[in-house]
């Protein structure tokens, strides 16, 4: 892991050096700020990108806010509360009318995850449904299974409901079960999946990778949730990430977007468990 970090760090320095050499010549070195917020699953990656970008653009402060959620980002952008938003879904027509622009920049496998301490590597959808509904309460080693729930309207929850009718019902049932761990953000969900013994939560590979989480993405119905499997369609569950911004993004924002689409940016994305569609 440290080797990986070292490589990222090295590469980003190279990138920053390359960009800075062209940018500094024309642009004033005035201090600029880019505030980024949105869906939790993308935030880790954004921090990596931001850090890399900031190295190349010393005059730009990139702040990645804690999770606002997709909806938060969509609301905050027109208000100018943030400069760049990350959403886990496409904008609706109404949201577009407010002048918000969006751009799908990456995808990441949607995974069921457990703590690396939990001795489980694979589950079927049916098993997962049983876990949510309470039919299956113990891991093979006998320990208690504790599924971490999200709010009803959350896009991740909506997405797993669509995985199978059984799971849809199971999630509904789980919402009625008392004593269930609950998380309001992707980060919180990851935190609880990590910290609560026997916990099982939903995450994206990008979140696990970008934030270096001690979580194991489970093989589902015999398919490992790798970027490759997902990109090939073998593993069918993925989250799409959209970058959104106001109608007139600042130069810094435009630069940041450009950085994301640059090879340095793309490398960070892929390294973080995303693939670029």
């Amino acid at each position: 892991m440290r080797n990986q970090m070292a490589i990222v760090f090295y590469c980003s320095r190279l990138l920053a050096f390359a960009i800075a050499s062209t940018a500094f010549a024309s642009e004033a070195a005035a201090a600029e700020e880019i505030k980024i917020g949105g869906t939790g699953n993308a935030l880790g990656t954004m921090r990596l990108l931001g850090a890399a970008f900031a190295k190349q653009n010393p005059g730009v402060n990139v702040t990645v806010l804690p999770s606002l959620g997709t909806s938060g980002a969509v609301k905050a952008i027109p208000k100018g509360a943030i400069d760049i938003g990350v959403a886990a879904r496409q904008l609706t027509e109404e949201e577009r009318k407010l002048g918000t622009i969006s751009l799908e920049y990456a995808r990441s496998p949607l995974v069921f995850a457990v703590s690396t301490r939990t001795q489980v590597t694979a589950l079927t959808l049916d098993q997962i449904a049983d876990i949510y509904s309470g039919k299956m309460t113990n891991w093979p080693d006998g320990s208690q299974i504790r599924p971490v729930l999200r709010q009803v309207g959350d896009d991740t929850t909506q997405q797993i409901r669509h995985m199978s009718p059984a799971l849809d019902q199971a999630v509904s049932a789980a919402e009625q079960r008392p004593g269930m761990p609950f998380a309001t953000t992707d980060q919180e969900a990851a935190d609880k999946t990590e910290s609560i013994p026997g916990a099982m939560g939903v995450a994206t590979l990008s979140l696990i990778n970008s934030e270096n989480r001690p979580l194991r993405a489970l093989t589902l119905d015999g398919v490992e949730p790798t970027v490759g499997n997902a990109a090939s369609g073998k593993y069918p569950h993925a989250k799409r990430f959209f970058l959104i911004a106001g109608a007139a993004p600042s130069a810094a924002v435009r630069r940041f977007i450009a950085f994301m689409q640059s090879p340095a940016g793309r490398e960070i994305l892929i390294r973080s468990g995303n693939w670029i569609p």
Binding site: L65, T70, K75, D154
Partner: protein, 644 residues
């Protein structure tokens, strides 16, 4: 009782109603207040809890937390506890709705809010709302229960005390009924005892067979009558009545017949005397009779005679046969024959015994009484005969003028010329005439005789004078008296001028109003009237002036007293003056001495009458002595003077 019952029922009903209403209203009201407060504080607490949960988010995203809709929703929905039925809304400081969770509650809705802080800064507020329907439903149920409970309370409070009261009242009335029953029994017992006592009293005082008083009661009554008689100064007579041959009847016809006879006798006595209180059955065939008021001994004799006679004639019916029963009587008089009832009764018994022994029909206890009765009865018979045989005669006493000594008129005085004993003085037979009622006939005869003499004198050419005839009380009281006078004077037109009526002052005063009318009627016939025995009758001066009389005759007692002292003289003087002031002529009676004559003349008395001038004389002597020509008259005057 019913009034009290209604009142108690009304009070209990009202109290029960008040308590029931209180229960009915207090229950839902109490529920509402408690539930509402509880609900309200619950909501407030929830708002606080949600606000606290939000504070964590705000601290991490101070500037953009309001956009983190998904997180807000998650917090509101599940953090730290899931929503129940309530809805939660988050507003920013400007009051703009940021997020909401939970279903919109049904109205009516209760809202409670709590401020959301970012450290010391107010960042917004959380509002929790929930439907009040549950509380309303609860209140409705409480109200229903309240009504049920209130109804039950009303029934219980009204029914049980009233039932208890009613039970007590029933017990009381049962006791009352028992008491009443006992009371009735007691009253019946008392009534029995009273009847027994009355019966005993009756038996103690009455004869069961005849219903008449017995000896005890009779003697009590006699004692009472004796007290009354002693008080008013008259006599009382007690008779014992014994049925003759009663024992024979009893023996031959049997005791029932004897009893029947006794009953008939009792009825006869009662019927003929009219007052059963005066009778008693003493024993077997003895009856007793009391005569409470005997004014004259002759009354007793006559009653006895009549009663015994009637009794003997009365047909008693026994066993379809008619019996006539004789009786014997023993009599005793109070106060002559005993001062107390027992003595009087014993003496009457003695008299009866004697009568039976001697065979007399009746006997008085004292021989003199028996004798007097006998004499009276004999006299009565003789007087009847005297009337038939014209043995009564009129003597005339002249009245003369004190002024000139001339004859003015005469007073007629009745005399009985008994062929056996000669002339009988009026004091011996007048009372008998009055008692027997013969006075009517004798009085009528006297009037006729006086008129007859007057008319004869007149016819003979003699100087006829008016003749005064005395009127007895019975005559004056008789309703036909005036008519009688009219008839007597109707024989001749001159007759009225020859008649004067002398009526005693006391008789006039007996019934003065009625008598004034009678006297006026008599005067209109032309007959003059004199008040006789004036001064003895307690005249009311007020009436004296109104009396239609012509003459006032001073009683002889005043004339006698006149010479005894100055008071007597003054009295006579006063009477004369009084009479003169009333325009009455004054005649002094019983003038026997020259002194009296002189004094009367001195006092201007008009006329005098008395032995000084002449005693009453037979009509032929009166005629020759006072009405004949003068030479004879002078002689006679002299004769009269010597004889007085």
């Amino acid at each position: 009782m019913p009034t009290t019952d209604k009142k108690v029922t009304s009070i209990v009903t009202r109290v029960a109603l008040a308590v029931a209403l209180a229960v009915t209203f207090v229950l839902p009201l109490g529920y509402w207040v408690i539930a509402y407060n509880d609900f309200s504080s619950q909501l407030e607490f929830k708002a606080r809890v949600k606000a606290t949960a939000l504070s964590g988010l705000i601290a991490t995203l101070p500037e953009v937390w309001m956009y983190a809709e998904n997180r807000l929703q998650g917090l509101l929905t599940r953090e730290p506890v899931p929503l129940d039925t309530e809805a939660v809304e988050v507003y920013d400081v400007r009051g703009e709705l940021l997020a909401q969770a939970g279903k919109t509650p049904l109205s009516p809705v209760l809202r409670r809010s709590y401020l959301v802080y970012d450290a010391a800064r107010v960042a917004g507020r959380v509002e929790v709302s929930d439907s009040l329907r549950r509380i309303w439903y609860g209140t409705a149920i409480a109200a229903a229960l309240g009504i049920l409970l209130g109804g039950s309370v009303f029934i219980a409070l009204r029914t049980f005390p009233l039932r208890a009261l009613r039970r007590v009242a029933e017990d009381l009335s049962a006791n009352h009924a028992k008491l009443a029953e006992s009371s009735i029994l007691l009253q019946q017992e008392i009534r029995k005892q009273q009847l027994a006592t009355e019966r005993a009293e009756y038996l103690a005082y009455y004869d069961v067979l005849t219903g008449l008083a017995n000896r005890t009661l009779f003697l009590e009554r006699v004692a009472q009558f004796m007290r009354s008689a002693a008080g008013s100064g008259h006599k009382l007579a007690l008779f014992l009545f014994d049925l003759e041959r009663f024992k024979n009847i009893n023996d031959s016809l049997g005791r029932p017949s004897g009893d029947a006879l006794l009953k008939q006798v009792a009825e006869w006595l009662t019927r003929n005397a009219g007052n059963a209180n005066l009778f008693a059955r003493i024993d077997a065939d003895h009856f007793a009779i009391v005569l409470p008021e005997v004014k004259r001994d002759g009354d007793v004799a006559r009653l006895l005679e009549k009663t015994l006679g009637d009794f003997l004639e009365h047909p008693f019916h026994l066993n379809d046969a008619v019996f006539r029963i004789a009786a014997k009587v023993g009599a005793a008089l109070f106060p002559d024959d005993g001062a107390d009832a027992d003595t009087l009764f014993r003496n009457a018994e003695a008299a009866l015994k004697k009568a039976k022994a001697r065979g007399d029909r009746y006997l008085f206890y004292t021989q003199t009484m028996t004798d007097t009765v006998a004499v009276t009865l004999t006299l009565e018979n003789q007087l009847r005969q005297a009337l038939d045989n014209e043995e009564f005669v009129l003597h005339y006493q002249p009245k003369v003028s004190l002024a000139n000594g001339k004859l003015t008129s005469a007073e007629a005085l009745i005399r009985w010329n008994d062929p056996r004993t000669g002339l009988v003085p009026p004091g011996q037979f007048i009372p008998v005439l009055e008692e027997t009622g013969l006075i009517y006939e004798v009085g009528r005869w006297a009037l006729r005789k006086a008129i007859e003499d007057y008319l004869r004198w007149r016819a003979a050419g003699l100087p006829a004078v008016r003749i005064a005839v005395n009127v007895s009380p019975l005559q004056l009281r008789s309703s036909g008296f005036i008519e009688e006078i009219r008839q007597v004077i109707s024989v001749d037109a001159n007759a009225p001028a020859g008649l004067e009526l002398e009526i005693t002052e006391s008789l006039i005063m007996e019934d003065v109003k009625h008598n004034i009318a009678s006297l006026q009627a008599i005067r209109t016939l032309g007959v003059v009237i004199a008040i006789d025995d004036f001064g003895t009758g307690f005249s009311s001066l007020a009436y004296l002036a109104k009396l239609p009389v012509d003459t006032l005759k001073i009683d002889r007692s005043f004339v006698i007293d006149m010479t005894a002292g100055p008071q007597g003289l003054a009295l006579v003087s006063t009477i004369i003056n009084l009479a003169h002031s009333l325009k009455l002529k004054v005649v002094a009676e019983g003038v026997e001495t020259e002194e009296q004559s002189r004094l009367l003349r001195l006092l201007s008395c008009d006329e005098m009458q008395g032995f000084l001038f002449s005693k009453p004389v037979p009509s032929e002597i009166f005629e020759t002595r006072f009405l004949a020509p003068l030479p004879d008259r002078a002689t006679l005057t002299q004769d009269a003077q010597t004889s007085s």
